[in-house]
Symmetry: C2
Subunit: 83 residues, 2 copies
């Protein structure tokens, strides 16, 4: 079966996020001062051919650990949907 | 009130995503060939001070249009949660 995985990778809360800070300041300069604590990460979608949802999750998790996510600085979450 | 916005920004379906393609090939080289059609975008979280959820959504939408999203190449979706 074919599954779609939605993966969100964010910088760890304990770490500074310079990109988010720069965007935060840009927004304030543009007058949107009600917005704060901007943090920027990655969103990845991919298709997985697997026998069941559990196997799809295992494959997505393996991809995160091996390629997509740098676990020293980032955390990830995976959501799997059947197609 | 304080709201949290989760914003997902993805490259438009019609466009090539070279970063996603490179990751796709890396995964195949590592033996994870059940994964395909990798597309990579951004995930942004931010805090919004607003009177209600509708106003929070309007502010997040303004931030997307003015700073976060390049609508020539990307599309965005916004999800607002009360805190």
């Amino acid at each position: 079966m074919n599954y779609t995985a939605q993966i969100t990778i964010m910088p760890l809360k304990e770490l500074l996020d310079p990109q988010g800070k720069a965007v935060n300041e840009s927004l304030h300069r543009l007058g949107i001062s009600a917005i704060d604590q901007v943090r920027i990460g990655k969103h990845i979608t991919l298709q997985i051919e697997a026998s069941d949802e559990k196997q799809a999750h295992t494959l997505a998790d393996e991809a995160c650990r091996k390629v997509l996510c740098n676990q020293v600085m980032e955390s990830y979450s995976i959501s799997i949907n059947a197609q």
